[in-house]
Each structure stands twice: as structure tokens, then as C-alpha cells.
Symmetry: C2
Subunit: 635 residues, 2 copies
Amino acid sequence: IENQLQAAISGSTSNGVNKEVFRQTLVNTLERRLFYIPSFKIYRGVAGLYDYGPPGCAVKSNVLAFWRQHFVLEENMLEVDCPCVTPEVVLKASGHVEKFTDLMVKDEKTGTCYRADHLLKDFCKEKLEKDLSLPVEKVTELKHVLAVLDEFSAEELGSKIKEYGITAPDTKNSLSDPYPFNLMFQTSIGPSGLSPGYMRPETAQGIFVNFKDLYYYNGNKLPFAAAQIGQAFRNEISPRQGLLRVREFTLAEIEHFVDPDDKSHPRYGDVVDLEFLMFPREEQMSGQEAKRLRLGEAVSKGIVNNETLGYFIGRVYLFLTRLGIDKERLRFRQHLANEMAHYAADCWDAEIECSYGWIECVGIADRSAYDLRAHSDKSGVPLVAHEKFLEPREVEKLVIAPVKKELGLAFKGNQKMVVEALEAMDEKEAMEMKATLESKGEVEFQVCTLGKAVTIKSCMVSISKEKKKEHQRVFTPSVIEPSFGIGRIIYCLFEHSFYTRPSKGGDEQLNVFSFPPLVAPIKCTVFPLVQNQQYEEVAKQISKSLTAVGISHKIDITGTSIGKRYARTDELGVPFAITVDTTTTVTIRERDSKDQIRVPIEKVASIVKEVTDGQSTWGDVQWIYPTHSSISADE
Amino acid sequence: IENQLQAAISGSTSNGVNKEVFRQTLVNTLERRLFYIPSFKIYRGVAGLYDYGPPGCAVKSNVLAFWRQHFVLEENMLEVDCPCVTPEVVLKASGHVEKFTDLMVKDEKTGTCYRADHLLKDFCKEKLEKDLSLPVEKVTELKHVLAVLDEFSAEELGSKIKEYGITAPDTKNSLSDPYPFNLMFQTSIGPSGLSPGYMRPETAQGIFVNFKDLYYYNGNKLPFAAAQIGQAFRNEISPRQGLLRVREFTLAEIEHFVDPDDKSHPRYGDVVDLEFLMFPREEQMSGQEAKRLRLGEAVSKGIVNNETLGYFIGRVYLFLTRLGIDKERLRFRQHLANEMAHYAADCWDAEIECSYGWIECVGIADRSAYDLRAHSDKSGVPLVAHEKFLEPREVEKLVIAPVKKELGLAFKGNQKMVVEALEAMDEKEAMEMKATLESKGEVEFQVCTLGKAVTIKSCMVSISKEKKKEHQRVFTPSVIEPSFGIGRIIYCLFEHSFYTRPSKGGDEQLNVFSFPPLVAPIKCTVFPLVQNQQYEEVAKQISKSLTAVGISHKIDITGTSIGKRYARTDELGVPFAITVDTTTTVTIRERDSKDQIRVPIEKVASIVKEVTDGQSTWGDVQWIYPTHSSISADE
């Protein structure tokens, strides 16, 4: 709780000012260079909708290509691609129609809508920051409110808003009571107006409803994973935090289906020795910090629930750090008991620290059998797996046999509901009923579908345990779900990659994105040193050879000084610049070190390919080719 | 017209039966192997929504990756990524809110909706097929209706439906008059309910509204192209034709911005000698067939409006044929005058022939300045380009100078509207007004914004032509738009790649997809010939080396006969199968020829990579490595 509180009030410290300046410089650069653009800008935009411009779009497609390579290809996952438009029945089964809501208040005069928790949070933070005369007990109270805010019911939020006299921020008008607003974009499928639909709030449901076919496709074998990349939609009440909280975003989700009795993973050994920051429930509750743990230890000590969950935590760590996320600002935080859905076995978020605080970018949850059961129930199609036994096994099975004649006499038209309720008892309930019937001869029994209790007598049902031979086991698989918010990962990557350095003259700060070649929007640029036909010919020839090996690049033949051209591409995070200054050899400059080597023209493409594909490092090629010391360039 | 007619009644010939059988075999295979799945199948699905299952999804991502390589990377296009949720104002400007409709009729009792033109088309086709006693003039009439159906207004459709006594197909109830139904999925942005939005019907608008930023990003230079891949949505009234007419689909669109006075293209020379089937307007009108034309000839003769349009037609041809579309079933059909929007300069569709007839898969249109002007007008932000002159140029400019004092006296409160209307006159109108004012002293002048004509006297406005020195030209660029329906291309690719061949025993027909390696969902499979630990070790080692070079593959270690395993992967279109039958060398089998070569284990990955990347052909490697004649396998 202390830690949630720290996170909640962070940004109010003096450090907060630097963060604001840093973020402003970054955001200016991102918008100016069209990494992203507020959508529909010429119409004054729409809150929570952003376009990726050319370099942002390239970064995004690199991140997604690497995700496909790292997860789908390397793990042999079954990738699917389902529509965004989703009929209501699917999202009723998943619980989204009922529960995918935020609490909202309305300005009672203008009708403007606000998120209730945001208003309360802002009020508490501002009080704590600005009202220095606040008595100690008030400070404690406000800090407590901030810490538990996320758990508040509509009533609790409403009464706090009343108690603190919070009004609409713009008009100071009074506010309505908080009420739930469903965050799904609603629409209508077909022309009749009778088939409500929603834009999916996550991609996972498309995988769950296909479980049966996918299981068959996988040769009826567990475990297997399905994956999907696609758009998801949340009609946020009042989007804030720029690219972090938006109304439409790209999700990449994995649903790994596994036998609930065996959550081992065949490739667990590949990640067992990884060490990184983890923040288990225990440490959060006792006010400690996240700590460096060996993944194998976290699993063997039972901190992480099972091997498969551990395996994916490790794979996510590798994915994020290879993209360029700083290890020191990445932690895996376990959900507290009150954060987790009741059915979840365990849940960890990959959180990345940026100027907004620690941001959840990937959720890795063991959701047990919840989703498949929900769709089985609603659709009537069993979403189950089978384990065939080599030899038949003897098992003790609960047998509930309602005596329909007696039940019919006693309950007439309600007989069917009573029979169903009896048959639906689990082992514990049934054995309790058996004991009561044997001792008292009758028992009160709650029938949900009737909305009342009925009296069951011993003649109406026989309950026993029988030994049976079984040839297979039928069960609902557990689902382990790593879910990636691609936009959030990309924004954090922008923050972790961005730095400034003084220009040659020291009179201005130049912006640099230190993207690894894997994600850089363009891998290299080609500059003729001066405007001259011979050099331009060479540049075009190099360009052709780069295209042939699939390296994205740009030629810049403007007459601008070479220093300025370097600065321009540094600001796009281009890792290598090729400068044509002779017709036989050219220089290659590395962005962060600004070191240059001289290489023959016919070698350029293969060298750039090697270092961008990661087959060689810049250090490797520096060993082979002579250093070029420039006097005319930017350094 | 004759040709439209042929297309409209095709499928009714005896050939039509074979087509149906072919399509049914194909669709069964596609669904059984999960190339695609009707979405939300366990809930009995939703018409017009499909999922791509694992192999379909892999084909799709290969097609998109090649699209990016062929267009975005090779042509240095600016790729953007905009949201699907779009505010109403944008789609009002583009005309979609008003005009993106189909005509619908309702069953007057049940309310079931139908597309009016579908009912009329079905009626005419059935009559022509089944009613052999039809008099000649009736046959001619029905054929004519089929040919001109697409041009019918609501009134014309309604009166034909009444005249022919067409009723609701399922109930035979009478039908409402036809009325327009907007095909966009509507929704609401934010919680207020006051901001209507739509799911975009195309991706193009996201590019147009960003024109200003993209032009700046491109160094304020023309021409340049922007591109976008993404989901688009059309709420079809009653989707038919399986994967061809769906409610959600992936579009890949290019908007190439070009000076309207110079539509040359720097790389036009690369495509000028391509020869393929073209179907110009002339040939369609005179009832001829599509004919083989050299692209350069079609452009130089003015059949294709300009070089840039021609360049993209050529690039689209290369794209589609490299994917595996059969050249003989691909044609470029020019829009007839009545098919084209009034603003379009020229428009060609890449049509692919499949069992449904000739299907429009790519549209390539010169949309002139329409889209940018529409958004300039609506947003008030000028979306224009500048051409700076090296030397100032003397130009004759129209000067319209309203005399505000006189106009104020005459029109009072309406003065502003009159002034604006006068200033908006084009050169022709203005010079006519000048002439009339000089001869008659006054002129009637229609002011749209007032909805009436006013009398303008010579004292109220001075019109003249003046010579001015200009330093730059400001103009609205033309847009040339190639727009790709990715799902349709993929479906046609399925049809063109599918064939059957008899099994070894000749007792059954085996299905094969002859996908080129570029689009094949998996590039190769690895089979240990018999279940045996040594062979499995080798298979795993080969698998690792394939992953290292980025080749997607599958190991199949089931004990099934090798012939059956080959057949299984042929049905997925896997081009190469590696069979482990010793611990030092293995065989590689090519899918279509069923030829096998024997290669050392350490060479396998690099050989498969070479032939899938297209650096070598199968013929090349057959020269190098010994043929393996199998007696145990499927052939």
C-alpha cells in the first residue's frame, strides 16, 4: 500500500519538474518528426486517438515483426486474425457487457463527463502538494484515499466527492452521483438494428471461441499457444497521458492452453537463469522495494505460481530488453490479491518506468479455466481437452441419481429445475447432502433457478461414490495469457531511447534516439558529402544494393552541411550513416559513438546488413576496417 | 454493355456446374485446414465476418510483408497508421455520410432486409435460366435490365420490383419501396453521446487529413506517396460470396500526390515494356474482349491517362503475379464513363477471374484534386503544394474587386455572401460577367448561399486581368490511388493455387496448394522417416538451424506413413519437405514436381533459405545435389 501510494503521488517531487521538461522535449521531437500525430488534427482532433506517422509506423511494424519472430515463430504458436466487430453474445459470455465499466460523474448543468476516480485523485494530490497547512491526520487520510481509491465502489466514491465538496473542474458546477459507463464502442451489425455489436475491447475472445478448432489443428494435443495481433477499442471517458491511455490501440495477445494438472514447460530451462527486478506481493505489502531475483528461484519458491507462467515472464523480459527497454527501469510486479479476478491463479505485470511513473505494458496472467468455461456455458459447445490413458484407470466417481417419480410428485412443473440443481452439485455439496439425508431424512436445498429453497427427502435422490474404469480424462484447459499493449511499449521505448547532447559549437542541444537497429525506423542513410553527380551516382548504386538486401534507408542529396544531416537522422534514431566522399570507398558512421570507419563501396550493403541483423556488432566491424577521422564533419 | 451482361449471367452455363464443384472442394479444404473460419462459429456465426486461422493468417502476413517490401520500401513511401474510429466531420467532408449507401427493401411483415438490386438481379437471372418459354422481346428486356441494373435509381428499382411482382424470397410477403441504407458502422465517441463517429469505410481519409504534415516531412517536395495498411468496415445489408463480400476487411492503400501539370514518373521506364491483358473502355463498349497490350503503348496512345497511373498499373501487375496470381486470369479493366466519379480523371481495376467471375481486387484511380479540396473546404486548412520559381514569372491574373460600399447599400446584411460569391467566380464566369456588365450595365447573378439570384450593376464590381510577377505557384495536388482489397486477393490466390491429383493408389484425389514460397504459410516441414530417437535429434538440429535463418517450419514426428505426411503438407501448400532418413544426409522434396534431392545436414537450412528467398530456383539446386529416387515414399 505504501508503495502504491508512492507511485500515486510521484511527479509531485522536485524530480517531477525535470520529468516534465524531459517529456516536453521528447513529445515535441516526436510530434515534429511525425513519430506520431494527433488524429484528425486539421479538424482539431479527437482526444485519445493518435496516428503513427512514417517513422512511428516503421518502429511499430518493426516491433510487431520482432514479436512474431520471438513468440509466434520461435514458439510455433498458432496465429489467428479475427474481426474487431463482435456480436453481443460473445461479450456477454466474457462478462464485458456487464462489467467492463468505469465510474463516471456528470457536470449537472453542462452534461460534461468525468471519471469519478480521476477527480478524487486530482483533488487529493493537489491538496497534498499545495496546502501546506494541512493537519497531520488530514494528510494521512488523503494519502490513504489515494492508496485505496482503485477499490472504491460507486457509493464510496460518491460519498468522498460529496464530503470533499469536489465540483466540475471547468465550471465549478455540482456533480451527479457516480454511475458505471461501459467502455466498449457500441454499434449495430446489419441493417435491421436488432443485432447489437461492439468493437472488441481485447483480442483474446476471438481465440477462446476458436479453441475447439485450434485444439484439433494442433493434433488434439496440449499444451499449445494461439496468438493474435490486432486493434482493440476502449471508449475512455476522458483520455489523459498522451499515448498511454488511448481509445484505440494495438494489442498482441497469447493464449497458452495447458493441462491444469501439469503446468510445466518444455523450454523452461532456457529462461531459468535469467535475473531481473521482480516485485512479489509480499514485498509490496511490507513496503519493500522490487528486488533482483533469479527466475528459477522465484518459481521454485512458489513466488511465481508455475513453470509456464515463469517461462512467459522470462520470454517477455527478453523481448522487452532486446527492443531497447532499459533493464533497470523494467520490473515484474505481482498483482495483489485484491487486484486479481477471483478466478485467476496468479498474475504479473511487466511495468516500465517512464516520466508518468511505472506503467503496466504487458500483463501475464494465469486465468485458470474461466474463459473457456464461460463460452462453453453460453454457447453449449464443450471447449475441453481429452487425455487418453494408455491403460484404463479406475477412478472413484460421484453419482447423483435423482428419483424423478418422487420429485415429480413433490414439485410438479418445477421438477426439471430441481433435478438440474441436484445434478449440478459438486462433490462437497453432494456428500454433505448425503450425510444430512442419512441423519435427518430431509434437507433444505437452494434452487437458484427457482429463487427459493425446497425440501429434499431421502427417497428423492440417491447419492453414492462408484468405482469406474475410465479410458480418458476430459477437462477444461487452463489459460496463461501474456497480453502486450504495443503502443505503451513503444512510448516507453521512445522515453528510454531519447537523449540530448550538445552540438559541435555547444550552442544547442541535439536530440538523439538510441534505438537498436532492430527497431530503428530506417536502418541507414546515404549522404553524398557534396552535391556532385559522381557522388550521387555512387549513392544511388549503394541504395540499390541496400534495397537488394532488404535494408530500409534514405538518400539525402540536399546541400545541407553534413553535420546538420547527421543531426537530422540522429533525431530519427537512424543507427548508421553512409557518407560518399570518394568514388571507391565511403565512410560509415555509428550514431551514438559518432565513430566512423572507411569501407569499399561494394562491401557497404553487406556490412550494414550484418550489424543491423545482429550477426556482427559495431565493435566487430571496427576491428576490420580502418577508422576514419573526420575534420569536416560534426565532431 | 454486352460484356457486363455476359459477366452478369455467367455461372448459368454448364461450366458453372464445374465451377461450383471446384469451389466446394476448395472451400471445404480451406475450412478444414483452418485457412479461415466463420467468425464466432460456436455462436452460429455472423454473416460477413471471417477469421483467418493459422495457415490463412500466415499467408496474409506474408502478403502484407511483400506489399510493404514491393511498395513502401522499394518506392520510399511514407507509411502511416491511423485509427479505425473516425469522427463524423471527416466522413461528411469525404461524402461518405451522405453517399456511402446501398438501396434496401424490407419485408413489410417481418422487417427482414434485402438489397434491392440483388433481388432484381436474382429474379432476372432465374427467369432467363428456367423459363424457356420466354418470348424473345422479354429475354432482351431482362438482359438489358441485368446490364444496366447498377445505374438504377431508387425509383427505377422500385418500379421494376413492382412491375415484376418480386416479393420477399423467404416469406413471399410484399416489399417496401427501396431506400438508401448507409453502410458505415456507426458508433459514439466518448461518453456524452454527442460525438457521432463511424468505423472507417476505407483507410484513405487518414492520409488525406495528414497531407500537410506529410508534405512537410517530404521536404515540401512532390511527388510523394503515402501508404496505409489497416482494417476497414462496411455494414453490408446481406453479405454473400463468402470471403469476397465481408463486413470487415484489410485494405492496403497508396495515395500518390503529384503535380496535376506533370504526371510523369521517374521510374516509369521500369514498367514500360510489360505486356498483359487490358480491357480499355473502347473494347468494352464495342463488345470486344480484353486484349494483350504493352503498357508503354497504352500510355502513349492515351488509353491510360498518364504515366504515373500507368506506372502503378505496372507495379500492381508485378505485385499480383509475383504472389502467384495467374497472368491469364488477371486483367486491367478501365472504368466506363458512367462508373467513374465525376471528378476522376481515369480509373482502372485489376480484376482477377475466379469461380465467381471477374472480381475487382485492386482499384487504381486518378482522383484529381477532389479529396484534398474537400478537406480543405471543410476544415479551413489549405491542403496545397508550392512550386517555387527559380526566377519570378509574369502571369496574367484575374482580379475581381467588389465595391463594398455599393454592395452594402444594395444588399445590406447579405453583402458578405454576395462579395464571397463574386470573389469565388472562376475565370470563365468572371469574364462573361464583365462582358455583360459592359454591354448591358447589369447582370443577374446566382448566389448559392442566399439561394437566389441578385442583380449586379457595373458600379458594384470591377473585373480585370492584370499582369503580376509571381514567385511561386500554389496548387492542390492530384491524387493517384491504388487501393488493394487484401482479403479478395488472398481468396483469388487460393483459387489460382489449388489443384488436385490422384493418390499413389489412385483411389482418392489429394489436394495441393501451389503457393510460391513467398506466400506459403510454412516454408518447409521436417519429417523423421521413422520414429527413432536418432532421427528426431537430427530433426531438432535442423529445426534449430532453420529458426536461426528465419525459415518458418514444422516438425512432424507422428508415426504416420511418409506419404500421408507429404499429402498433409501439400494441402497446406508447404513447398519443401525435409525427410530425415540417415544421420548425415537428408532428402528435400519439392511439392509440385515431387522431385527429391539428397543434401548434407549442415547444408539444409541454407539451401531452403536460398530457394524460398528466391536467390536460387529449385532447378538450380537440382543441378548441384544428387536426385534421390525414393521407393518407399508417396510416388
